[in-house]
């Protein structure tokens, strides 16, 4: 037998190709559940609901409102202090400081990573500084902060920058270094180098990493802010959310403490689903860089 003989004989087929019908959009029909499941806000809402129910149930079962109030008690306190404007006012104070510190952290991280990507000694500098300074707790900065910035928001911002800077710089730098050689070469082919290369090629190409850094930095900025507001003593009346939490904790108004934390959670959710999710959708998702 020849090699071909194992093959099935069949006639040739020749067709006329119709182009008219192709434009129709075909959608597979979906069940109601599947359709609901596809709405991200619904899914996330469900998760939140479940978490709230767990909180409520655990709080009730624990029956120790001084330590861990049920969700409803917290919500009561939250509603009260939202209504009388205390929480909004405190949040505003915190947000202001936070945004300044966060922005400065981003700028410094951009600067450091740009220097780092430019030369070997720059990379060493970033690596050394990061591995040295990143693990240092805020109290290590206290003396210097007091000397350089005094009390109040200057020092808080300094500490905030410290908590934001390294995480963002680490992520950004790792992102830069993971950019494919081809893209890098393309950029240099356009005559780009130094800052231009960073801005036009490295930043967009490393955007998934940078976004992660921004997210981590954002979260740590909050953590630090709340802790720092206590350490750096806010003069009365000017306190932010951290102070609100601390005050209520001292007075054992636990429901209010949790209301303050709940505010932080809410802001976190809004920023994640409002800001970061939108950025992701408009950038890395759209560009096919994340799946």
């Amino acid at each position: 037998m020849t090699a071909q003989s194992v093959l099935v004989d069949r006639p040739e087929i020749i067709r006329d190709v119709s182009h008219s019908t192709v434009t129709a959009e075909i959608e597979k029909p979906l069940g109601v559940w599947e359709r609901l499941y596809r709405v991200p806000l619904l899914r996330k809402g469900l998760i939140l609901l479940v978490l709230a129910v767990i909180w409520e149930a655990y709080g009730r079962w624990l029956d120790n409102p001084l330590l861990f109030p049920p969700f409803s008690a917290m919500l009561d306190a939250f509603a009260t202090d939202l209504g009388n404007g205390i929480i909004p006012a405190r949040t505003l104070v915190s947000l202001q400081t936070l945004v300044i510190g966060y922005a400065m952290g981003i700028i410094l991280a951009a600067l450091l990573t740009t220097i780092a990507i430019g030369s070997q000694i720059g990379t060493d500098l970033l690596e050394t500084m990061t591995s040295m300074l990143n693990p240092l707790p805020a109290i290590a900065l206290l003396p210097l902060a007091l000397i350089w910035f005094g009390l109040g928001s200057g020092s808080v911002i300094f500490v905030l920058v410290h908590s934001v800077l390294w995480a963002i710089a680490l992520n950004t730098h790792a992102g830069f270094r993971s950019v494919s050689n081809t893209l890098r070469m393309v950029g240099r082919n356009y005559g780009l180098s130094g800052l231009g290369l960073v801005r036009h090629i490295l930043i967009p190409a490393a955007f998934p990493s940078i976004l992660t850094g921004l997210k981590v930095g954002w979260a740590f900025a909050w953590r630090t802010l709340i802790a720092a507001e206590l350490v750096f003593g806010v003069s009365s009346g000017s306190g932010g959310l951290g102070w609100y939490i601390f005050e209520n904790r001292n007075q054992l108004e636990t429901a209010n403490v949790f209301a303050g934390l709940f505010t932080v959670i809410l802001i976190g959710l809004v920023v994640e689903n409002g800001v970061f999710a939108t950025i992701e959708r408009r950038t890395i998702r759209r560009w096919g860089m994340q799946h």
Partner: protein
């Protein structure tokens, strides 16, 4: 040839096919019926192929030929089980394809299909062992055999990022062949190869087929290659891909004769004049 899959050789190369085997062959191994494939992007909906029908029988060397962007890769991915048709169905041995699997080994068009964290040899070997297609000494032996076949023995311990484009593709080819799958799906495997290497690879594929009579779906851009490699050739229209024709290729004996030139001209006409 010192490597073959013994059971297949028994069935095909040894005894003449018995009637049952012939009957089995009469029902297609792979049936693509009315398959429309679409991509949903953030901005719009792209139809890659539109109501494509064809049948691949066991031991076919089936070639997909069509202009750039007509949906060949997409079609192959759907057969691979990575993409669900919005219309129509893909059946393998009568069962609808729902997921990827090592029975349909794919050689992708992209250069980044090797695992960067594994050397050339590990890349091939890992495919064999994880998929359970071979293990231990057999896997090692098969790996070395195919790496040698694609001319990369010297680079067996190199990492993919130190290889040239063509070398990467050859590793992928070695991997695909080493898996000895029921259906080998190859997406322009030889595009990055020079004339000589390409010819060698084609010969290798045919020699392997002679031994094991595996089924292969092969995307190519070269009409000559389609005729050389294929037993049956599917012509697709430009974007969105629709079936234009399904032709029989010529037997190897007739390569280099007028029959080849004629078929080439026919295909040329069909593709270029539309």
């Amino acid at each position: 040839m010192n490597r073959t899959s013994p059971n297949v050789r028994a069935a095909y190369a040894g005894a003449p096919p018995d009637p049952t085997a012939a009957a089995v062959q009469a029902s297609p191994l792979l049936e693509v019926s009315g398959v429309t494939l679409q991509y949903k992007t953030a901005d719009h909906l792209v139809t890659a192929t539109y109501r494509v029908d064809f049948q691949v029988f066991k031991s076919d060397r089936y070639v997909l030929l069509g202009p750039s962007g007509c949906g060949k890769s997409t079609l192959l991915k759907a057969i691979g089980g990575y993409l669900e048709p919005v219309e129509g169905a893909i059946r393998l041995n009568g069962h609808e394809v729902t997921r990827p699997g090592p029975d349909r080994m794919m050689v992708f068009q992209e250069f980044d299909q090797l695992l960067p964290w594994k050397s050339v040899r590990e890349n091939v070997m890992f495919a064999l062992t994880t998929s359970g297609r071979a293990k231990g000494a057999e896997a090692a032996e098969r790996t070395d055999y195919y790496i040698n076949k694609v001319g990369l023995a010297k680079f067996a311990h190199s990492f993919p990022h130190t290889l040239s484009g063509g070398m990467k593709q050859r590793v992928a080819i070695a991997r695909g062949m080493a898996m000895e799958p029921d259906v080998l799906l190859m997406d322009e495997p030889y595009a990055a190869l020079d004339a000589l290497t390409r010819r060698r690879m084609q010969d290798e594929l045919l020699r392997l087929w002679d031994d094991t009579k595996f089924t292969v779906l092969f995307v190519t851009h070269s009409i000559e290659e389609a005729i050389r490699v294929g037993t049956r050739i599917l012509l697709l229209s430009p974007h969105p891909g629709q079936v234009k024709a399904e032709l029989n290729s010529i037997p190897p004996e007739q390569l280099g004769t007028a029959a080849q030139a004629e078929l080439e001209a026919r295909i040329n006409d069909m593709l270029f004049v539309h």
